[in-house]
């Protein structure tokens, strides 16, 4: 109750049409959780991106960069291969199964047209993994090392705010936020129970033998 009162007080202080939502994600122990996808779906309904710009998920040093990518439904994604070896990017996730067979350099773009989490893998490097969280809203963010994310320029209105992390044991309860004025700032805190991801064996790099 006190939190709601506080939230109401904060929201009331924001200017209408340019509201900001500050979200802090912590784990069960209270430690900040980085790479959590946070997004706010307007009460008016989900929205696909129109003429969205291409997002890149690179392969550098036999790793996907970044580990977590959040993007709006309908966003095309390129998987440029910066390594001097071939990669074979694939996804068996129902949200977007695809594969880009062995290639190097630029890749064809893949449009993620369904919301959901897509797990990326490389068929020849089992340890390579990355996640694309496809959300039906333009208001999304990814927590930094401090577990904080800031969603800017949110039009005033009601939102359902969610947080997701690939290591989560269970999905965090969605929260609602109502932004009265464009200048209103709202703060939300999520607690996600995460597990420690086991790093899969990555053979050491032998440049001479690439």
């Amino acid at each position: 109750m006190s939190r709601l009162a506080l939230l109401a007080a904060v929201l009331c202080a924001c200017p209408a049409g340019a509201a900001t939502l500050e979200i802090q994600v912590r784990d069960a122990a209270g430690a900040p959780v980085a790479d959590a996808a946070v997004y706010a779906v307007p009460a008016s309904g989900p929205a696909d991106a129109r003429s969205a710009r291409t997002v890149s998920i690179e392969q550098i040093e036999r790793e996907f960069i970044p580990f977590v990518t959040v993007l709006q439904t309908g966003t095309p994604v390129a998987f440029p291969n910066r390594d001097p070896i071939l990669h074979h990017v694939y996804s068996f996730s129902p949200a977007k199964p695809f594969e880009i067979k062995l290639y190097t350099g630029n890749s064809p773009e893949v449009v993620f047209d369904k919301p959901g989490v897509v797990t990326l893998g490389c068929n020849i490097h089992d340890w390579m993994i990355a996640y694309i969280v496809v959300v039906p809203t333009p208001h999304y963010g990814r927590t930094d090392a401090a577990g904080a994310a800031r969603l800017r320029d949110l039009p005033a209105g009601g939102y359902e705010v969610r947080a997701y992390h690939p290591n989560q044991r269970a999905a965090a309860q969605p929260q609602t936020a109502t932004l009265d004025s464009p200048a209103a700032n709202a703060r939300l805190a999520f607690a996600i129970d995460t597990t420690q991801r086991k790093a899969r064996y990555k053979p050491p790099l032998d440049r001479a033998k690439y």
Partner: protein, 807 residues
């Protein structure tokens, strides 16, 4: 000897049994030791065998588990590779069940899996190669999925549809897990055989559901044994260490159960087995060798024991044989045992013993048949020789003689000069006699001073007399022993075979009789005369009768008055013994007293007489008749000094007779036989107050010096002088001088044998103190004497009156 034989156990059997005992003992010993050895070896062998097999089984189990783990790892790897196959993942991602099943079958076949199941992340079966109906149902091994989710792989041995399977569960990664795939690899006979080849053990995989029996899924055992295995295995026998022996097809198998999995209701084990027969085979060979070794040892032992036993028993039986010969008196043959062991020592000792026994027996014989003093044969030897000689003489019809002799008065030599001197003298006698005899004659000392000579004359009957003469001559020369010179005379009795006796005792007795004759007649030697023997018989009879006479009061005492010539009063009586023989009538003392003295029986008679006389004296004394009682004692009585004195004294006390009322008379010749003891006895008697008198004085050639020393009160002149006074003046002179002599020595003089008035008158004239004789009064009984005394008193008065008248 014959009688003893049946009591002895048969020698052969006893010795054999010694050998047999040896053999049996050693055989039993060997069998015991070897049996124990065999028992221990076999037990140790079987223990070692079992231990070895157990070790092998233990090792086999480790190898087996290692192999299973390796196989599992291989299967996991295969599964991991399979699950990572892109096409496989792509097919699964299609979410088309038909596709999924076909890809499962396809890829499962690649790695040889018999069962493949795809499990959703929510642990529900997505697809199964066996049964589509399982789709959507929960996966039956969720634990494996959990383990696989956390570690990337999981495997276990499980029972699926009655087959033992190694089930591997791996995630399907894209690259996060999108599903789990389970691959089942059946453990069939092939797998068991493979394990058997690597471990050398029989391998059986078995399972049972809770509440059901065991079931064999695969095994290296022949199909025929599997039924037995289930039966044997089902028996609830728990053995420590997880090992147990199962019998299959008649063979023992050491078995070890390796539990593989308990999942839900199913228990799966691997049974590892090794045949004990195979494991024990090397030990069986050792046991067999041991058995043959024992058998060979036994044979050698029996042979060896027999040899040893024989080497003991043979010399032992020789010794036993020798001992039997000893028993029969043969000491000559030594035991011939040529061994240098204990038996040999025994034989040597045995032979020494033989020598010892022989020499000792010789010594014993010598002692038994030889007289120790003279070295001559003894009586036993003499008797033997005599027997032998008699036999020879009887066969040859020849004669032989026995000369028996002893020394006259030898006792005096012993008594006065001592036994050592006597012994020396006897030795000298032996030597001298031996010297006068031929070598073929035998002289023996029969005992004491008695010697015997055996003459195997075969010739004239005068030969023994010649020899007797020679012997007497030989003894004539004085004997000098310890500087003492002495004369020794012998009396020889001669008897001759066959006329004087048919055997040794008869001959010896005859010679004995002859010897006594010789002694009596003092003629040196006498040849046996059968008439002498008759007298001797009479003599012996008389002795018996005399003995009886004393006991049965046939003897009686008569008393002869002794009259004092001073006043013509009877002052004393002499007690004289008479023998009222029941058949022969009255026997005068002269006929039995010398004989009693000769035989020593006189002591008994003296004692009887003393007792009677003192008793009578006492009676008279009490009646007021005071006459002294004179009793004769013999020289022999004087020698038994103490006996005589004590007895006399006791009798006096008993009869309450004053000692002075008793007078003991001893003949002069009796005194001279043993002057020393006579003197001592007389003194003792006189000291007691008893009167003593020398009887028959004048016959014993005693010297006055001697008489002077004697403690006597009275001298009795021998009757020969008294009764010869009228005929020969010289006798009267002797009587007269004797009376004077007696008076000079302070002795009372008695004349006995007074038979005439003339003699009496002469005696009065000579001053004789007391007279005794028929003229004055005959010996008479006590009653007669009493009467006589009463009459005499009257007569005395009368005579005195008439004397007065005549004067």
């Amino acid at each position: 000897m014959e009688a003893a034989t049946p009591a002895d156990p048969p020698r052969g059997r006893r010795l054999r049994s010694l050998g047999a005992r040896l053999v049996i003992f050693f055989v039993i010993l060997l069998v015991l030791v070897q049996g124990l050895g065999a028992f221990l070896v076999i037990r140790a062998n079987s223990q070692i065998a079992r231990q070895t097999i157990d070790q092998e089984l233990g090792q086999g189990e480790r190898v087996f588990r290692q192999l299973l783990t390796q196989r599992q790892a291989r299967l996991e790897q295969a599964a991991a590779i399979l699950s990572a196959d892109f096409a496989f993942r792509q097919a699964i991602a299609t979410n088309n069940t038909g596709t999924i099943i076909s890809v499962l079958r396809n890829h499962g076949a690649r790695v040889g899996a018999t069962v493949m199941t795809l499990v959703d992340l929510d642990r529900a079966v997505r697809a199964d190669t066996r049964d589509e109906g399982l789709t959507g149902k929960p996966f039956v091994f969720p634990a494996l999925v959990e383990q696989s989710a956390s570690t990337g792989k999981a495997s276990s041995t499980v029972l699926i549809d009655g087959h033992v399977q190694q089930l591997v569960v791996v995630p399907v990664l894209a690259p996060d897990p999108i599903a789990y795939v389970a691959l089942g690899f059946e453990i069939d006979d092939g797998v068991a055989r493979e394990l058997n080849q690597l471990t050398g053990l029989e391998v059986s995989f078995m399972s049972r559901m809770r509440g059901t029996g065991w079931q064999i899924h695969s095994s290296t055992l022949a199909a025929s044994l599997r039924g037995e295995l289930i039966e044997a295995f089902a028996a609830p026998v728990a053995e420590p260490g997880g090992f147990r022996i199962l019998e299959l097809g008649g063979e023992d198998y050491e078995s070890r159960t390796a539990p593989l999995a308990i999942d839900g209701g199913a228990e799966i084990v691997a049974l590892l087995q090794k045949s004990l027969e195979v494991g024990l085979a090397p030990f069986r060979r050792i046991s067999t060798s041991f058995f043959w070794l024992t058998l060979a040892g036994l044979a050698l032992l029996v042979a060896g024991s027999l040899v040893i036993a024989r080497s003991i028993t043979r010399p032992v039986s020789k010794l036993a044989e020798a001992a039997r010969r000893v028993k029969e008196g043969d000491y000559k043959r030594h035991v011939d045992v040529d061994q240098h062991d204990e038996i040999g020592e025994l034989a040597v000792s045995f032979n020494h013993m033989l020598d010892g026994i022989e020499s000792r027996e010789r010594e014993i014989l010598r002692l038994a048949y030889e007289d120790g003093l003279t070295g001559l044969p003894n009586r036993a030897m003499f008797n033997t020789q005599l027997d032998q000689a008699i036999r020879t003489a009887r066969r040859g019809g020849t004669q032989l003689s026995v000369l028996l002799f002893d020394m006259d008065r030898f006792k005096a030599i012993n008594d006065t000069l001592g036994h050592p001197v006597g012994d020396q003298a006897l030795r000298e006698v032996g030597t001298r006699v031996r010297r006068v005899l031929r070598d073929s004659d035998i002289v023996a000392r029969l005992g004491g001073d008695e010697f015997a000579v055996l003459l195997a004359t075969g010739g004239s009957s005068s030969a023994p007399r010649v020899v007797a003469d020679k012997i007497l001559k030989g003894l004539e020369a004085p004997f000098v022993v310890d500087g003492q010179q002495m004369d020794i005379a012998a009396s020889i009795g001669i008897s001759t075979f066959p006329e004087h006796g048919a055997d040794a005792p008869a001959l010896l007795r005859a010679a004995d009789v002859a010897m006594y004759d010789a002694k009596r007649s003092k003629v040196g030697y006498t040849v046996y005369d059968p008439t002498h023997d008759e007298r001797r018989q009479e003599f012996l009879t008389l002795l018996g009768e005399l003995r009886r006479a004393v006991e049965s009061e046939e003897l009686v005492l008569h008393y002869q008055p002794k009259m004092s010539l001073a006043d013509d009063r009877v002052t004393a009586v002499e007690a004289l013994v008479r023998w009222a023989h029941p058949t022969r009538g009255f026997i005068p003392p002269a006929e039995f007293i010398p004989f009693a003295e000769q035989t020593g029986y006189i002591s008994a008679i003296t004692r009887w007489v003393l007792g009677k006389a003192i008793d009578q004296c006492g009676r008279w004394h009490r009646e007021g008749l005071n006459v002294r009682m004179c009793v004769n004692v013999s020289a022999r009585d004087l020698r038994q000094e103490d006996t005589l004195v004590q007895y006399t004294w006791a009798a006096l006390l008993a009869a309450e007779v004053p000692p002075g009322m008793l007078c003991l008379e001893v003949t002069e010749s009796g005194l001279m036989e043993d002057p020393k003891s006579a003197q001592s006895t007389l003194r003792k008697l006189r000291d007691l107050g008893i009167e003593t008198s020398i009887d028959d004085y004048g016959t014993g050639y005693s010297s006055l010096a001697y008489i002077k020393q004697l403690a006597v009160n009275e001298l009795k002149i021998d009757r020969a002088f008294v009764s010869g006074m009228e005929a020969d003046k010289r006798n009267a002179a002797i009587v007269r001088s004797t009376i004077e002599l007696g008076h000079n020595l302070g002795l009372t003089v008695v004349a006995e044998g007074v038979e005439t008035e003339h003699e009496l008158a002469q005696l009065r004239h000579f001053g004789c103190d007391i007279a005794q004789g028929f003229h004055l009064g005959r010996p008479m009984s006590a009653e007669a004497l009493e009467a006589w005394l009463a009459a005499a008193r009257g007569r005395a008065l009368g005579s005195r009156a008439s004397a007065l008248r005549s004067e």
